[in-house]
């Protein structure tokens, strides 16, 4: 129900933007045109969509896994964190196109470099949010654990990690939204398949309605993933304390 309203409102805003701002169709096609393109190219979009979805899921899994692991490592070793932190930030500040050749040289033209690119984008919000959560564990819990004779590592594992779960889930929500765009950007690194490829191709070839149709598919992916993660997160948070 809410989803339907959201859809209607979204389409309404879009149509309004086209009308009010007087956008020519080669810059921003209206919903009707895009829907038509979506329908006409459904087979094409499905084909490329499946490839992108694979990359998204792979990137998300790896990104969340690696990001979570990194946050744990950095939380376990605050000194290392002080050194690695800026390097992590650096990795996020480097524009993708500069890294693209490095990645291709390294991982080749296959799935590898695309997933690596998606991973790079997902990785940081997860790491950052989770690390913030790990650092904010209420002191009395950590103190009690220390008195009980726990090693810092055990405290991290048994106390700080579960305490930081909401923060991790917060990072996960961001990751779910960034994963598709990560895969799209990954596909710009030497791909000839996937929605990112289709978008650039359509963009360069005056098929703006096809491009927006592809964008719709990607956005649907992002919304779906976000909703799935959100439902999961709410469920976990609800069950966590009762």
């Amino acid at each position: 129900m809410k989803a339907v309203i959201a859809l209607l409102v979204g389409v309404g805003l879009w149509q309004a933007a086209v009308l009010v701002l007087d956008m020519p169709p080669f810059i921003l096609p209206g919903p009707a045109r895009t829907a038509a393109a979506l329908w006409e190219n459904r087979a094409l979009l499905a084909n490329h969509g499946v490839i992108t979805l694979t990359e998204v899921l792979l990137g998300l899994t790896l990104g969340v896994g690696l990001g979570g692991l990194t946050a744990l490592l950095l939380a376990a070793m605050p000194r290392v964190a002080a050194v690695l932190g800026p390097i992590l930030v650096f990795s996020q500040a480097v524009p993708v196109f500069a890294l693209a050749p490095v990645f291709t040289l390294w991982f080749g033209y296959g799935l590898g470099s695309k997933v690596a690119m998606a991973l790079l984008i997902i990785y940081f919000p997860v790491t950052s949010a989770f690390l913030d959560g790990l650092r904010a564990t209420p002191a009395p819990w950590v103190d009690q654990a220390r008195i009980m004779g726990a090693s810092p590592r055990r405290i991290l594992w048994c106390v700080r990690m579960p305490a930081a779960l909401p923060a991790l889930l917060s990072g996960l929500r961001l990751a779910a939204v960034y994963a598709p765009i990560g895969a799209i950007i990954g596909e710009w690194v030497g791909a000839s398949r996937g929605l990112g490829y289709l978008m650039l191709l359509a963009n360069g070839r005056a098929k703006i309605d096809l491009m927006f149709a592809a964008i719709l598919v990607v956005a649907a992916m992002a919304i779906g993933l976000h909703r799935a993660v959100d439902t999961l997160a709410r469920g976990m948070e609800a069950r966590r304390l009762r």
């Binding site: 080669f26 490829y197 963009n203 360069g204």
Partner: protein, 294 residues
Amino acid sequence: ADRLTVMLDWFVNPDHGPLIIAEHEGFFADEGLEVELVAPADPADPPKMAAAGRADIAVSYQPQLHLQVAEGLPLKRVGTLIATPLNCLLVLKDGPIHDIADLRGRRVGFSVAGVEEAMLGAMLAPAGMGMDDVEMVNVNWSLSPALMSGQVDAVIGAFRNFELNQMKIEGVEGRCFYPEESGVPSYDELIYVANPDLVNPKVIARFLAATERAVQFMVNHPEESWAIFAAHAPELNDALNAMAWDDTLPRFALRPAALDAGRYARFERFLSDRGLIEGVRPVSDLAVAPDGGE
């Protein structure tokens, strides 16, 4: 068979017709080649990949080659794909620009490739203008939209075989000022480049022989070759590509292996005069004609 990785300058489009046809018609196989085509999203990447040995051959642009060699990339032109410029200075047909002189005080959009200022400067000179007389705006991803929507009065860097047709499809006709008719030395738009130390010239010669057969096939059978290209991937079969195909056909190098040394020397001199590169390099540093003789 010898494996050969060819990195395109951009996603597959009619400019790459000979490669698709050669693949489909088995001309590569006849030469004992197994060719893999790879498409990047940034046209600046393929020459780097070729220089680094990640790709055997890259499709690139002659103007860029001069810059890259000047910067020390181990690259040489080994063949020609499209033997005329494609770049043009594009304006609206019904717009205020009838003459290059009309550009005074106007906005010119460009998508950074590196040489557009030099070209535009050369094109403005006969009208007694310099770069200070126009306002340059980098519009990156949206050359023709920026022009069509009137945000800029002209764009440089548009391809005559694409953007013109694209605008026609959108119902906003455009007009080209051709650089080679306006003071810029003519050049090869698309060339094959390779790292001469890493690729066997004999293999390259066989590769060029296959593409030469492909170009001949296309010239002889334009309709059939378009059908082959359109069937290569479903997303390629559209009105724009069909129109572009016809416009591109006469521009493919009929002798891909042949080298016009003077053309490279002239362009090197041109870029040097325009201050984009320091000094001039002998043509032998820029280009080779692979020896196909056994």
